[in-house]
């Protein structure tokens, strides 16, 4: 067993909070640069250029790309040969969030209950943590701060198996069309298909972690991703919803086996500030 003090996890998460919020991932930047060349609306092109300029200003000054520095969503892959010492893992994670959001001058956007008093917790805790136990003696931490504007435009529907690919595509298009300008397009569309409802939505969120431009390894699913991207970009919504071609930068689909009676589909929308970073310790 490899012993690891949870204090390491705290300090890594503290750094990841600041890095994720201030530096736009290179794959997203590249996709935005391509979209400037392909956008047909002059206003849309100006908007895309400003979004790229924003990323430069943020990185240069190490200030957040977007003031909504999000819910701290963490995917933790915990090697089964790691023995954690020095404290409680969950407390260590939240302490990392607390330090990162304070030290990085990030906005604290979490209220302690969702519909009663809605008092801000003051330190952006708790984090949302998804843990998987995996072989090995390492810990992989992925931090993906998730903004409220795009999360609010996400949706889940329990389709019938007979609805098939057409039903899935129609649902995804409907969600993106209805969202219009609200999730700050251009967006990245994460789609989860199959499983039980909690897995369906988790798959949709995991889909957002895949680099822009990389397709599902199953060629049939990759084809659906490409078709959906084209159809979404024909909706006319465009950058910031002002009209144009660049409504989405990518459609990423992740799947899970399903019950013989079910075809659940979740759509998780991510704004262009598609922030995620990872570290292995």
């Amino acid at each position: 067993m490899r012993e690891l003090n949870v204090e390491r996890i705290t300090s890594v998460i503290e750094k990841l909070c600041i890095e994720a919020n201030c530096i736009l991932p290179p794959d997203v930047k590249k996709a935005l640069e391509n979209s400037v060349r392909e956008e047909v609306s002059p206003l849309g092109r100006d908007i895309l250029k400003d979004i790229l300029k924003n990323a430069e200003v943020a990185e240069e000054n190490m200030i957040p790309i977007c003031q909504d520095t999000g819910f701290a969503v963490i995917f933790l892959e915990l090697g089964q040969d790691v023995k954690l010492v020095g404290g409680n893992l969950n407390d260590a994670i939240n302490e990392g969030i607390r330090r990162g959001y304070a030290g990085g001058y990030l906005r604290k956007s979490i209220v302690d209950d969702s519909f009663l008093i809605r008092k801000n917790t003051g330190d952006n805790t708790p984090a949302v943590v998804h843990t998987r136990i995996v072989p090995g003696d390492r810990i992989k931490i992925i931090l993906a701060p998730k903004g409220g504007g795009s999360e609010n435009m996400s949706a889940l529907r329990m389709l019938k198996p007979a609805d098939g690919v057409t039903g899935i595509k129609n649902f995804v298009l409907e969600v993106v069309d209805k969202a219009g300008p609200n999730p700050c397009p251009p967006v990245i569309v994460g789609v989860g298909i199959g499983g039980t409802i909690e897995i369906t939505t988790l798959k949709a969120k995991e889909a957002l972690l895949r680099p822009v431009g990389q397709h599902n390894s199953n060629p049939e699913i990759a084809q659906i991703e490409k078709e959906l991207l084209e159809e979404i970009n024909n909706l006319g919504i465009g950058p910031q919803g002002f009209g144009g071609k660049t409504t989405a930068l990518a459609v990423n689909i992740e799947t899970f086996p399903a019950h013989i009676a079910s075809l659940p589909v979740a759509v998780n929308i991510q704004c262009h500030a598609a922030r995620h970073v990872e570290a292995v310790i």
């Binding site: 400003d50 909504d68 520095t69 219009g180 024909n234 910031q240 009209g243």
Partner: protein
């Protein structure tokens, strides 16, 4: 084309703004989002005076990040405007003339914009670092206990926005989409 305007908004300025115009704003604007809107409308409902003069002013829907040492304000981009829709007609009636946010407005709000001769601008959602560069002064004027949701008085220079709903009720989100829709 890009137009330069100053606050407070005059009738002449509002008349000159058309849906789709890019605009640079100079002058004072006020911030308010969900919690501050709730309080402002509660004050109006009680028939009391607001903590700042709303007449001919612009409200910016934003909850900024804390300022790093040496900076005026943290990242400060717009939040989704639709959440303010239930409160907006009352503020327009009370003299508000402009709003900056992002995303759809309800038909009730569009009707109120036309009725009171106001304008709805969008700033780029997710460009809070760039937008903060145009903010030259920031001072809390109400509800400091709301943290990022407090009301700030901002002095802005060349603050970049786009006219989404003009005083005629033309809506760029509808018009722009129709122009480029292919399915």
């Amino acid at each position: 084309m890009t137009k330069n305007i100053t606050t407070p908004l005059t009738r002449e300025t509002i008349n000159s703004l058309k849906c789709g115009d890019r605009v640079l704003i100079d002058g004072i604007i006020y911030t308010a989002r969900d919690a501050a809107h709730k309080r402002l409308v509660e004050i109006l409902d009680l028939g009391k005076g607001l903590p700042f003069d709303l007449n001919d002013q612009i409200i910016y829907y934003v909850g900024p990040c804390p300022a790093k040492p040496g900076r005026i304000i943290g990242s400060a981009g717009p939040t989704t405007s639709g959440r303010m829709d239930p409160y907006t007609p009352k503020l327009l009636k009370a003299g508000l003339k402009g709003m900056i946010g992002k995303g759809f407005r309800s038909q009730t709000v569009i009707d109120a914009i036309v009725k009171y001769g106001a304008v709805y601008f969008a700033a780029i959602g997710g460009a809070g670092a760039l937008l903060a560069e145009s903010i030259k002064e920031a001072e809390i004027v109400a509800f400091p206990e709301l943290g990022p949701e407090a009301v700030y008085r901002l002095k802005v220079e060349k603050f970049p926005v786009t006219v989404v709903i003009d005083k005629e009720g033309n809506d760029l989100y509808r018009i722009g989409k129709e122009q480029y829709r292919k399915i």
